[in-house]
Point group: C3
Chain length 332, copies 3
């Protein structure tokens, strides 16, 4: 908990408001309450700002007149946000063995596992060798963690979940603000990963925690090996994701989707329910209609591909050129 | 071991046959013996069914008249198969340290490694820190396991094998049956991973175990980092596979192939010997002729790519349109 | 340390020179000193050979007359080099807990971590559960290693570095020489990984050590999850690399680049400063001009893609055919 006076100092901001007000956490502009801090990066979010019930908002001078509450005025809002997140990040206890405050029921916990403060584990769980479960993690009933699984602080796992070896749940999201010297400043990710019931997660798969809100894996989801799921992604009920696939930040996948192997889905997209994406395709725009989608270059003999490639990069020129030629010919 | 009566109850099947017959394991329709269970998903496998020596076959009513042995009749064969696999999956012992039944010869085993029941390790092996070797694993001579390697139950490793940190051998395959409510039911994978001699496996690579039969990595194979090899894949002798590549289930790679980085090979394919696939290509059909293959989109300035992309998605329309135009012009 | 006589025997070479000269290590042809061994694979490197100050050079008979120093003449230079590297590879100690020679300052080291011989750790570091730090590793101040991180022998990490769970630093490079029977012979990688200050490395990411010289990650670099960085890659200052990306051996990335997710960059390339590569693109040639680059197939309905694909593989034939047609028409 910090006062507005302290926060203004931490991020070198001009405070418009009461320096004694106490802030307990960070929240989105829409959900923040009067003991929470939020930020508004640009005018697109002006309506949210006007309606915000936050205790304080980090913003630019040009949005100050629209701020209904205390303001922290800075030049680079995103950078100031990145810096302040670190003050609200909980430190983990780095326990030895099973922490005395952990409730592990009848779980079989292999020797050498580390279970942090206030962890709660349900009935009939198996925690295999060399697993690390940090403070505040909640695990449901009938959960099987294979060896070398890492679940970072505060994440929660539902019932009947199987997590394969080497999977990482709750790693930091890849969010960084860049300053004027082109140096990156990491955002401390304060959200968690929330995994529903009947989920399976593959070997060496990584699921990042959310920035402020949570990354969500809904009931019945199947995730294969070496999949990357970024911060704030939401994977809808009963969706299956094959190996080597990556889903970038804040994308929302619908229910019952089937995502093939090594598919890349860029960030901030909405994929509707019942979408099939074939292996190796790239999804770079919203999908609003259920169906099967593909976007890959067909395989050819290398020699053939070289010839095709030569024309492919000129495809716009070819079509223009042919249009003119055809037009000219027609006009003759 | 279960009786047919018990199995019929487990999967809610109508048993045609003797309820007292005992089944010890699951096998393919072709290889199953009279104490084994198998399943036939559709009419394509009718010849195998007719010739099968299995103790019992899970099948649909419409194949019942072709069944030469006991039958378990269900509506959804694949789903019933998925459910019954779990009854035949061995539980691991979750040992502490080196299990008393393990034979480790003169292996250097780092503190904190866990070695399960009936593990056999050959001469001159090094098992580095935080490695987990589950029950029944067999390891040859001169094997070097780097830190954090996981080898799951029943897998076998040949001589002179090097496994890099974080690699996972024998994780569950990504096989799931979907019920009428679109919920996924995992298949318990009962096959193993069998790795030959003189193989190297890269860091954080994952190799899934087979469904019923084994996943096979033959002698002399080289596998780089972060590669995914799915259930029942066979990688032929002296083949090399570069980083980030994924090979989907049941695909067979020939000998002496060189698979570039981040290549995706879809499932159930046959790739012949001496094939080179360039980095980032997608292999979506059998390859029957040795040679070098490529299938990638050339890199362009983003602005140029946007123009090319516009026409690319219309390529079939362009060719049709031009054909008509040309024809019309010619007819003038 | 070996004499030239011993080395000649190890790799079955004809020695031209003094069998008693002692060789302490391996170096590049350009940097090797008189107690070091180097190798020259073909005539392209003749100028380097002529200028070399190495103690001995492995080479073919046809380059012998240009060799200014002792020579080890073999038929297959690369294979002989692969074999000799193993003699110069240091064995690690496979310690238990923290080795007595390690200097760990005030680091918080979780139970079960293994810290090797002569490791040096700076001020205020946190080494989480199940981390393995091999002999000779150097770690700066304020470094945070999450659980299950592996840092292999001799690598060095700067100040203010965060390494996410499951990351592997210093795994063996994927370099292999093939003999006449098509068997692969691994090169023992003798270089290290050198990571600068203010770097973050994502979960389950792997960074291979260099062959002779080091793999370098410069100050301020950000690397996301499941990224593969091969031997001898150099990543320039303040460059950011998103998840699932792979960079092949010896490629040099400039400063302030932004590499999207699941990008593949082939080996031995030079990418200049300030390059943006969009997600899923393949970089297969040098980039000499700053800017934004893309190379992906657009996503389509599968049915549409099938039609486009049919023409795409014939694009060179279409353009040739149309040119003829157009020419013929014009000539009429």
């Amino acid at each position: 908990m910090y006062t507005l006076g302290e926060i203004a100092e931490f991020i070198d901001a001009k405070l418009i408001g009461d320096a004694n007000i106490k802030i307990t956490s960070i929240a989105s502009t829409v959900s923040a309450q009067n003991d929470q801090l939020t930020y508004v990066v640009n005018k697109r979010y002006k309506p949210d700002l006007i309606a915000s019930q936050a205790g304080v908002v980090i913003l630019n001078d040009n949005l100050l007149s629209d701020c209904p509450t205390n303001a922290l005025v800075v030049d680079d809002v995103y950078l100031a946000f990145a810096k302040i997140t670190h003050y609200f990040k909980k430190q983990v206890t780095h326990s030895t063995g099973v922490h005395s405050s952990a409730k592990t029921n009848n779980a079989k916990i292999a020797d050498g596992c580390v279970i942090g403060e206030n962890v709660v584990i349900g009935q009939n769980c198996i925690i295999s060798t060399h697993s690390s479960i940090e403070d505040g993690v909640t695990i449901g009933d009938n959960v099987y963690l294979h060896p070398n699984v890492t679940i970072l602080q505060g994440c929660s796992i539902g019932n009947n979940v199987v997590i394969s070896p080497g999977a990482v749940i709750g790693s930091e999201g890849f969010g960084n603000a860049r300053d004027q010297q082109n140096h990156w400043h990491a955002i401390a990710h304060l959200g968690n990963v929330v995994i529903g019931d009947n989920v399976t997660i593959g070997a060496n798969t990584t699921i990042d925690r959310g920035t402020i809100e949570d990354t969500e894996i809904h009931d019945g989801v199947r995730i294969d090996n070496l999949v990357h799921i970024a911060h704030n992604v939401i994977v809808g009920k009963d969706t299956a994701i094959a190996a080597n696939t990556g889903i970038a930040g804040s994308t929302i996948l619908g229910k019952r989707c089937m995502i093939g192997g090594m598919v890349g889905i860029v960030g901030h997209l909405n994929i509707c329910d019942d979408v099939i994406v074939n292996a190796k395709s790239t999804v770079d725009k919203d999908i609003k209609t259920p169906g099967m989608y593909t976007g890959i270059m067909p395989l050819m003999l290398h020699k053939q591909w070289q010839n095709v490639g030569l024309w492919l990069v000129k495809l716009d020129k070819i079509t223009k050129y042919l249009n003119v030629k055809l037009k000219n010919l027609k006009d003759q």
